[in-house]
Subunit: 350 residues, 4 copies
């Protein structure tokens, strides 16, 4: 299942075109809307006040409530667009946002209003497509769940990567702030509100686990490597700046005798006692949960005044951004990370 | 330039087939052999004593010393193979190695001798292919260099990511132990020798920089995202378990005001004062050096006794591995990381 | 420029998603609507009386009249749908139509109404996408034109394949029945009307030429072969059952001395006196016009009674199809063939 | 199973790298050598007297006689190379050969000796790879066979496309001149020898059938269309200039009522009475044999004097080619066409 997300924040519509969709998948609209609601804005002070209707219009590939197997396209109309003047963005690029790189890449022709094609709004169709992917995976006994692993250096309890924690993650998905340890969650939220008051933003990390993959999927080679394919999909999620499998960067500081996951037999099955490898050896699943963590940078749009350049005069300049911005997108990115992983796995199992 | 690495550690030959090679590239054999020597074994006690001749035999795609543009294949014969009994590997898989996953993936048909297709030996053709890629890039003013960023939690001085440090990296490439800070390098080597004595191994991190990429390369979308493409290529390097761009995971702990890279004008050019983003915003280059770090796990093959399972009896077992093993592959992986990045960039610029 | 056509004849909308579109292409709506009008129905008795509004709604990738370079999606709403009962198609598949194969492929889940995703109606977005491709090519001095080469074994004058006939083809495009020899065109039309009266349909061939490609494009290899890539795109046009380059199948009956195109110098340029090879040798352009011909089968939907099977009872059956059908689609397929070729070439030159 | 054919006629070796090979295929060397012998030269006066040893050297991906599933590379050393002077080819390109296009494509850097990468010799590894593909297909009950359909306009009896003729085709494969009607075969051979005496060459057509594909494989869309994928693979066979499915171009002259294949029930199975569609409707198999015909141009290398240009002086010139050439390659191309089809189908079923 290949996907192409299209659209611009202030264009007519955003949406997705999926190819290679299996036929006969009954689309569970409740599940899909639940996923959409997890990334929705405007629920509280942690996110932008911007409200998006996010109503899905099915254009093709669905018939009598089921996927047909032909290319599937759905769109979400853009409605809550402020008609304000965005021309400042053309002249004064926001630091670490894609205003400048987008201009360079698209030779000044891209729709810059509200971030255009770079807008976080485009993760809405991604989450909806991911919901379909999750249904396809559920039919094969595969589950994907994630939680906030940290915000601003405040850490949630990590998953027990050697155990099946899908029930735990199912519950976490219902939380407004998806952490395992609500105490840590409170501290994170306090820090987000603090940043918001300071006209600033925060980043964080998200830990994601995939349960139900059998051993033997993937290959060490470039085009079949499961770590590579997951990474490729995850870096297409805005604001992701790093990915690690299992203990990842922490492994680099360990001895082999500490980092290796000893094999053992359990109920006649081969498994490993620990899962520091994140369920993958040599690019191939070993039957343990596939576990990875991604780094989410702080939202670059902040209201604090910043240094930038004036692209029309070629001089240094100062930039103040007004408007509705997220002081933190980590909690909203949790279902996005799951969606990207789900789409990667469906394509991988094809 | 697409590549397929083929071969098994104890088969007839290992090699690579490259397609989409530009025609007319004069192959600089000195440069190529230099790259090969950087990853060569047997130079000192930090690596395995195994000596590999690693002589390249050109089979196709090269004529009168230049690339023809047609598919290019070269091979390296396997010569220094111990004829010892490898059958233990079929029954007692090494923890965190690919013995078990390879068996599952290839239904017991893969060549298990010496790691087979999973052997680190297959990075030799990768480095040679990368040397050709580097030549292609050099003609476009692009340079790729890397250094050991850490071993066992002992850190090298990081690169100044906002500066052009290609001269520094050119020098580092000539060091037997490629670090910027030789004092740190001494401590790392001492730790490696210590691990070796303990029958153990160590991991580390490698920081890599790409200079000379103009702004505007890449896209936010799945198939054109530069971070995703680099990640995909890097995870095809054995033992890589994580990748981060710029400050990566450290960004997750910062405020936006700290993480953002302010724009400024310099000699009439737009650049950023800092480069915490690693030269990429929204999946697109911003004209600053592209900088990333990868995590290398400790070599899983250690001589210390370990827990494993006996796959023929289905019982828990103990495993002792004898033979020549690398207590650390981080220093040898430096040119491999550069090669993978070079191949990724040549393909990306196509 | 990759494309995905989506939609079903009786769904909400049909459309296309294009990726890899160059930025800054000013969309010439007149040219686009002209191409659309060339394939439009309802103009005369040669086509179905069904009228399609075919109004294009731009959803993404276009800003201020120019392409942005981000994924471009446009749709055409389905409006003139008869609400009649299509359930017969589920039970009594039309011979040589895709009713049966669609059912098998999509496990009975595809939208069968009016042919669904197999409907000729899906060539409307293909032609519109092709119009954008033609604009991109025009900027590079490349022109694509086609004409009806035969209908029912009545032959049009063939193109002089060794000459530049773009002016001639530009004129032909304005004809309601695009042939070079209007006398032959009259006889073809008479035969089409005759078939229509008999409740039958006719097929034909279309000859297409591409001007302005420089020598040296393509390769003999599987993934870079120009003949292979054009063929792949052309077989995605409904009803195409064959393709030949230059004199194609006729070459099979010639001696080498007759089939070879002798080289000659002309105005300091290398060219060939004849162009029986259709401008391609070894999968690579030789600088002469690229010329190919495709075979279009007779429309399978005919009103004459036919043998089929009843898929619900598993018995032989008779089928009578009522409704509006094209006795010939060859003339309407001319712009579709050009569009498919234009999309293939834009992707090829990428 | 993707393949890359590499090598040049007078280089060190030619060969193929296959990826995506299923593991555990026991390579039937007798079957493989039989396929190789079918395309071998030097058997009689119909082919070049050049003898090629064509000994296969397995480099990777095979262990204990079975495929491992990892990239599989084998090579054939080039031995019977005349050390004669080929420099004439650089200056006087052979009409309708790839000498000129190769020079343009590869900027004068390709190995021109003996046709280099364009040499028909590269079909040897293609046939060997195809033999592996055929084994994989045989395990799934799929068989591919072909015969000469015509030479110089002399026609063999066509296959009964609605019947299973695999036994007939199995026998034909053992003939030195693979036709169904040996009388027609005698006349073809007489014509080939006549052409040979005249210093000329002949072309022909090959009809190929694929048995055992179930209904429902493929899609109407660009990247999943079976006709398109077969065409793409077949045009990578040197000298192929056209492809048609079922009755192909002949369909263009028929009425729909003649061209349609009526459905009928037979032994509880849906099938069609005729098979003019060649087993494919809407890009999807219908369960009948997939039948196609390709056009093979006459060998462009003929000893008759021809017009060409002198690329170093930029003047018209005359060319006389001496040496060993095939007056006809159609009979040798039969196993090549089968091999290309087999590789296409294995990849398609993946």
């Amino acid at each position: 299942m290949n996907y192409t997300i299209f659209g611009e924040s202030h264009g007519n519509a955003i949406g997705v075109t999926l190819t290679g969709v299996p036929s006969g998948i009954e689309i569970n609209m409740d599940a899909l809307l639940f996923e959409m609601s997890r990334r929705a804005t405007g629920k509280n002070k942690l996110s932008t006040a911007r409200k998006e209707a996010d109503e899905i219009e099915w254009l093709s590939g669905v018939f009598e409530g089921k996927t047909t197997g032909t290319p599937l396209t759905f769109i979400i109309r853009n409605t809550d667009q402020h008609s304000k003047d965005y021309s400042q963005l053309k002249v004064l690029p926001r630091p670490s946002h894609a205003d400048y790189t987008g201009m360079m890449r698209y030779e000044g022709c891209n729709d810059y209003r509200g971030g255009g094609h770079f807008s976080g709004r485009l993760t809405a169709p991604l989450v909806a497509a991911g919901a379909i992917a999750k249904q396809i995976l559920a039919d094969k006994g595969i589950f994907i769940g994630a939680h906030i692993a940290s915000v601003s250096g405040i850490y949630d309890t990590p998953l027990d990567s050697a155990a099946d924690q899908r029930e735990l993650l199912r519950e976490v998905a219902y939380k407004e702030f998806p952490v395992l340890d609500d105490g840590a969650g409170q501290r994170m939220q306090a820090d987000i509100l603090q940043a918001r008051e300071e006209g600033d933003s925060v980043g964080g990390t998200i830990q994601c686990a995939i349960y139900g993959l059998s051993a033997g999927l993937g290959a060490p080679d470039l085009n079949e490597n499961l770590e590579g394919e997951l990474a490729r999909h995850l870096f297409a999620v805005p604001a992701v700046k790093g990915i690690e499998f299992g203990d990842g960067f922490a492994l680099a500081g360990l001895r082999g005798s500490q980092a290796n996951d000893p094999f053992c037999m359990e109920d006649g099955q081969v498994r490993t006692r620990t899962n520091r490898s994140g369920g993958i050896n040599g690019g191939i699943t070993n039957g343990m949960p596939v576990v990875f963590t991604v780094a989410i940078r702080p939202t670059p749009s902040i209201s604090r005044e910043q240094d930038t350049v004036n692209l029309s005069t070629g001089e240094n300049a100062r930039l103040s951004i007004h408007g509705r911005h997220d002081p933190c997108i980590v909690h909203r990115a949790v279902p996005v990370v799951e969606a990207a992983a789900a789409l990667a796995i469906v394509e991988f199992l094809k």
